[in-house]
Symmetry: D2
Subunit: 343 residues, 4 copies
């Protein structure tokens, strides 16, 4: 059976990546591709790399245009998805790449996004405990943020095993600039970015902070508190997260490694690397894979976990397609058997 798929926000980076993956997915047929200001244009003019879809014409992002498909991907600015989803049939699988339905806490939502909370949808990160089963039943799915995906896959196993302490976690992550979308902002101009690193959202104000704490809190079974600092790196894609947590007294590196190995046993996309080999974003660029490595720094009393993912693939569109596969009852890796493009 072939499923029909609509993709909104098809002119942006997230929507374009969804289309790149769906174009190689054997069980789907791409239906409506929608946009806002680019409606009426050829897809090829705004996403010139999608050569096999170049002659598709973008239509307006309306519930009418998105209706009638088995699956609808929403790759819109936050605030738009609840209203559109409400107009789509309950049987339609709606997969939202925006933040709207990720947070469980209405007060966190209001504090970080400044608008009314729209409710919570099943969370599209099947590698977290319990999530895969929930996604199999889901008809509404909230795709995790790119930082939360990368960070949580790095820290969840150690917290779930009780080997890492849930308070005073410190995370510093570097992202490629596609994470900011196609926004026309001066600091994203290539002349500003190439050759330099810069921080942003310093001091706990990045919106992914509560999402990270929420997901890790579920893994740990207790509240988790993080210091999270994102930085902008001169690369188009990829996130490298350096996460450190105090170890539970007596924890050995062998124990910690065993917990990760067990947690990711059987997972197709998360790879605990062999000892001594470290994650790097180019291992995973363009793919749905995530690489993870850990070490215990006895001197500092902290475990350091490095994790690498592609913010647009596993961090957005790949995670979305993986969740779709689960919700449709397909093999989870369908259409996602892509390796990183390196060098």
């Amino acid at each position: 059976m072939t499923y029909s798929i609509a993709v909104s926000g098809a002119s942006g980076y997230a929507g374009g990546e969804v289309l790149r993956l769906l174009a190689g997915h054997p069980e789907v047929e791409i239906g409506a591709v929608t946009a806002h200001s680019s409606a009426g244009e050829r897809l090829g003019s705004v996403q010139p790399h999608l050569l096999s879809l170049a002659d598709r014409v973008l239509v307006d992002t309306t519930a009418e245009n998105l209706a009638g498909h088995d699956v609808v991907f929403l790759a819109l600015p936050h605030g738009a998805s609840a209203e559109i989803a409400a107009q789509l049939g309950e049987d339609t699988i709606v997969i939202d790449a925006a933040a709207d339905h990720r947070l469980e806490s209405a007060s966190d939502w209001e504090k970080f996004y400044g608008s009314a909370h729209q409710g919570t949808w099943p969370y599209g990160l099947p590698e977290l405990p319990g999530q895969r089963a929930r996604l199999a039943e889901a008809r509404r799915i909230a795709v995790p943020g790119c930082y939360p995906t990368t960070v949580m896959l790095g820290l969840a196993p150690g917290l779930a095993a009780g080997l890492l302490q849930p308070t005073d976690i410190v995370i510093v992550a570097a992202t490629g600039t596609s994470g900011a979308g196609k926004a026309l902002k001066p600091h994203l101009l290539s002349a500003e970015v190439i050759g330099g690193m810069s921080p942003y959202g310093v001091g706990g104000v990045h919106r992914h902070t509560p999402e990270i704490e929420q997901g890790l809190g579920h893994a740990a079974g207790v509240p988790v508190q993080v210091s999270f600092t994102p930085t902008l790196a001169p690369m188009p894609r990829g996130i490298l997260a350096t996460s450190t947590a105090k170890i539970t007294p007596g924890t050995t590196e062998a124990q910690l490694r065993a917990a990760y190995r067990e947690h990711y046993d059987g997972e197709a996309f998360v790879h605990l690397l062999p000892e001594g080999q470290w994650p790097a974003t180019k291992q995973v660029v363009g793919s749905n894979h995530v690489t993870v490595q850990l070490v215990i720094d006895e001197h500092a009393g902290r475990a350091v976990v490095i994790s690498a993912a592609d913010n647009l693939t596993k961090g957005t569109a790949g995670g979305a397609v993986q969740s779709m596969n689960i919700a449709l009852g397909l093999e989870e890796t369908t259409g996602l058997n892509l390796l990183g493009v390196s060098p």
Copy 2:
């Protein structure tokens, strides 16, 4: 039926790219992966992005290890392939990514490579006139150079149609640094490359010059003479070729465009873009696609053709897999339905 494939030079960029593509090819099984100094290592330690093949162990590059497969890819320094190929069965399809068997002229070979000519094999660029049929029968295939692939796909249709003049063609091309392989040379260090452009092989001395003239000569039906200047760009992959040729008097842009459209009609991988849209390497990075655009500059009396390809994919490994598909009688696009990874 599943074909067994051996890949030599699997620790290098070309070999790694062949493996990346074969890992997603539905009709093949990867057999021996061989290397020289890395023999004995896990593939994952030298090609960390090939996560699904990480536990394969590299074996020595010997005819013994390569024998017994349906297809053998040679991704070795030039000079090694003739001897190895001679030891493989005549029914084995041998696909050589090195230069050894590309040139028809022994004197050109000797002049540019300084060793004895080893003969000529069918040339793995099916989009050139007559090549596809030859490849269908071939058991030995010479993969074109990355610059010749990009340049010839840009100029062949106009020359074949007699609309471009075969003498005084000027080509300037920019390549990503993977084109130089993993050679440990100071000028390839990232600190030297990032943030700058530099030329090399200026003055007609680049080894791809006679190969370009040979292929274009076949397309034109008369000898072709080019001035070719390659430059090194601060990017890992991709070639952007700017090729200019004098137009045959009276030629209009509409005529030229029609010739290209006809030439590439039905081709899966070469795309004449809509008027006004220009090739860029990021349209095709990681894919087997090539984009082409042309214009006539009346003031200068020249046509300018821009073509973009990924030097490692269509320019090496993708062209090799495409040729393999033809030689095996498979659908030509099998395993190559990948779009460019962008942004």
Copy 3:
């Protein structure tokens, strides 16, 4: 004596570079710094690298604010300078980084810029024959375009010596993205630029084409005709120009080299490199230097000249300061003794 200097367009790349150089110039005092939409802001907030000038406040770009200085730099969009200059005293040295007063041909101006020609000012490229003397008397100076500077310094000596033919010159150049200014255009976003090369203005339509032909025509003493293709490289600064011209029959490389050596004898900023060494943009980034190398490709019957410059320094602000020094009667290199920042 200390000269007072005003800089308009101080929030842009050209204006910022003028200020970077003037901040290290021992004979000047920076007066008014003006901008349009950023007026009222601290300079440090829009040009955070100008740390020693961070607390200066940008004022509106008006003739009133610019008046009363010995020298006024105009780094404004084209079309604005004639009117402002008319309001400044005739003794004020006005140095215009915009295109308005570069072209001598009113019809070329109208064809390429689509507005009324505003007249021609002395051209700020002292290394062209006769220009230095003109600049010594000038009170109005048109700073050359970045491409023309780089290309003309590469080709002028050979044309002036009659060793290169003036027709059918082919130029392909790669520029860093600061050449496009701080314009908020999608194709300049870092995610679009990093990792790729793209062409623009193909087919003789780039506005620097007539400027190149004008300057080279003066050098050659006869009209010059070029095919010029600019490309965008993933770097912030720098231009690498590959220029090829047919040689006058019988010309040897030694003759050509001698002509260049003689032409640049005594020049502080233009360097004919030793034979075998090639220009690269990183040799000159952040400096007022230009490197040049040449070769004759006998097979193609063409000389190939490579030249490298920093589009913002020698290509704009450095050339402007050099011209100012000449007009003020200062040592030409004052404040410009900076070497390239490399790696």
Copy 4:
């Protein structure tokens, strides 16, 4: 008076940067420039950006060649400087960019460098308490490591004021690849680096860890313990350090800011940015400046301090020249009035 200067290791990145700065220093004359395998070559062939010094010839790195200068810069691999320094007169100012004489603890030296400790020299970071006076008397100076410079300038004021807690400091820093020198290692090839981020020396094993703890310990007056993770960014130069420390209970951001403002009052090269503006490496590339910003994350109970420096300038050669100026009794900023090259 003009001082004569010798520079060893002139073929490397650190030596080249020393020469770039000295070439613009008004009080010095560059004498011997020495190298190891490049001895006998023109400086222009190994450091093509040093155009004004291109015709200097590199001589062997021997005490004989270095003797007879007022100042000798050692930019050699660690392990070589003690022996050479011993052969230079006691009045010669010897400035060592290697690590040999930075650490006070012989056991730390042996643990991290695996050889015998060679003693400790005055430490070339005048912005640390007490260091400027020591440098004024010094005839042997150990230039700090690039990470320690960047990190210590970020954390020292808060620790010295007792507002940050000295234990459980977490630092994650990104460096440009020139930090690794010109070593021909596969992971430094541009194709590997461009487009990606990777960590190295994870788990407290980087050699700059004890140096950071030593310097911060002096500032705090008590032992300091850090978790330090360096990462490699796709840029040639620059370090961005994200340093977090727990605040002493009751500390307000205003108090912390006041302590930094006071600490850096009168410093020419260290800039506490205005509130809300953040350091970025491009603010300081090519310059001796350092930018710093801080915030208190109440939720996490930590201060986050960001600092940015150029690893080759303030982090190595600029700090070395600044120290030389102090030791010679020159104005500290002589020859260092360079602003960052941006964009």
